[in-house]
Symmetry: none
Subunit: 249 residues, 2 copies
DNA sequence: CCAGTTCTTGCATAAGCTTGCCAGAAAATG
DNA sequence: CATTTTCTGGCAAGCTTATGCAAGAACTGG
């Protein structure tokens, strides 16, 4: 087993269970605890996990207990949400991933909009429920405590049965060469299914994540139709995407 | 259980109940009171709680010293939840309806419990997510905004595919002649499916709702195995149910 | 293809953390 | 004031971590 492979596995485990023990990882992957510790150290240095005595925790672990509004990129996300909301029209079926940007989208919707929103993210659905008129469909399956979305084959099967007009994806990393990538195995599979089930794919990403890369590949940029960031559409950072034929808002 | 995890649990408990006792925490998490005290000390040093003789208080405690929400039936529900929680054992598959009583059940679970909980109620699932070790399966379908649960044929189909060990139903009305009844058409159908999918049916009901009737019939009392109220099991009000062969807790 | 270099891993040892227990002090209770 | 409960600080046991080292694997540049 390669080092990177091992670290990806560890990261996946952390994201899945919110915590890992050095001892059990050592048993599972059959390497010494020293190696595990070194891996945990590296992942912690990269900011991907939180290392604690005896193992490691997911970053979102704390957020479950102390929801911190990262006011930082919050304003950016509001701008993005505003642009995205303008794409939704009455009668549409809208498929959305999870993530804070999508929550902002839910808040930015026209209060008179009559459309159907579909998501497997619990925080996102909570936000949709505040809206007076939209219909909501929740994708069910095993709940991932860390990402607060439902994951698994049943969730994917449910998504496959949908034909949505538009799909909004909160994106973790995108660059013109590698396409879209993410750090969570389950999430990648869900998003892939969402892409297959939608006529139009819209990616929402703060500029910070443009031209970045995450361990797991999701799809090529050619699959997406629209890219929304907080930047003006003619910003030079976005030129490669415009040139690739993607609508940039 | 990792130290951080334990502290997160304590913090959650403090925020939930506005107070905790060192002694009961020690019992719940199965560590010595010394450890609890040290945790409380650390959390207090970080300004997250207020440590007092015998336990700790939430920061918001001062502001809501006289809690306004109807502590009335709330305490009753806590008693019910406590009794219900004692029926759940490691490894079980537990199907639950929605409702405030079930939320209390989620809060009353042993923090070391390892079981799988299945529900279509969004507030209930949110509460389950606070638990450190249980697995959660969310039933998906159309979200009913007023009851905050997923309803519809897809939800029912998902429930049908389950074989649960035990099913906890929050009950709106029960009487010995008409059985269980409810006021929401969709909810009745879901609960019927839940009953069919479970080996053991446990009804949770505050005494106020005993011997009452709602417009839509759900099932006969003969279908249920256990009835839990806040009253002592030998209360005369419950006698007809005991006589009907139902276990009363 | 090979020698030199860098990476990676497991082991041993020492240092550090966490926890439970204890004795005496302090606080609450009636 | 006596009794009970809780708190504090210190200590020891057990487990976890850091560090240096050595062996092997993988890579690099002739």
């Amino acid at each position: 087993m390669l080092k990177k492979e091992r670290q990806a596995y560890i990261l996946h485990q952390v994201n899945l269970h919110n915590k890992v023990l050095s001892s059990s990882l050592s048993l599972n992957i059959n390497v010494s605890e020293d190696t595990i510790r070194r891996d945990l150290q590296e992942l912690a240095d990269e900011g991907k996990i939180i290392k604690v005595h005896g193992g490691a925790l997911s970053h979102s672990f704390n957020q479950v207990y102390y929801p911190v509004n990262n006011v930082y990129s919050h304003d950016h996300k509001k701008v993005i949400a505003q642009k995205a909301a303008s794409l939704v029209q009455d009668g549409m079926f809208v498929l959305t991933s999870g993530g804070t940007t999508i929550i902002e989208l839910a808040r930015a919707l026209d209060p008179q909009l009559k459309a159907t929103f579909i998501s497997g993210s619990i925080p996102v659905v909570l936000e949709y429920m505040q809206h007076p008129t939209i219909e909501i469909i929740l994708i069910g399956d095993k709940v991932s405590k860390n990402s607060k979305i439902t994951v698994g084959s049943e969730a994917i099967a449910q998504i496959r049965r949908i034909r949505a007009d538009i799909c909004f994806l909160g994106v973790n990393a995108i660059n013109i060469k590698d396409g879209i990538s993410d750090s969570d195995w389950e999430v990648v599979h869900l998003k892939k299914a969402m892409i297959e089930s939608s006529r139009k794919i819209v990616c929402l990403s703060i500029a910070e994540k443009i031209n970045s890369l995450q361990p797991i590949h999701l799809c090529e940029v050619s699959k997406i139709h629209t890219l929304i960031t907080e930047l003006p559409p003619d910003d030079p950072v976005l030129k490669p995407y415009r040139d690739a034929g993607i609508e940039v808002l």
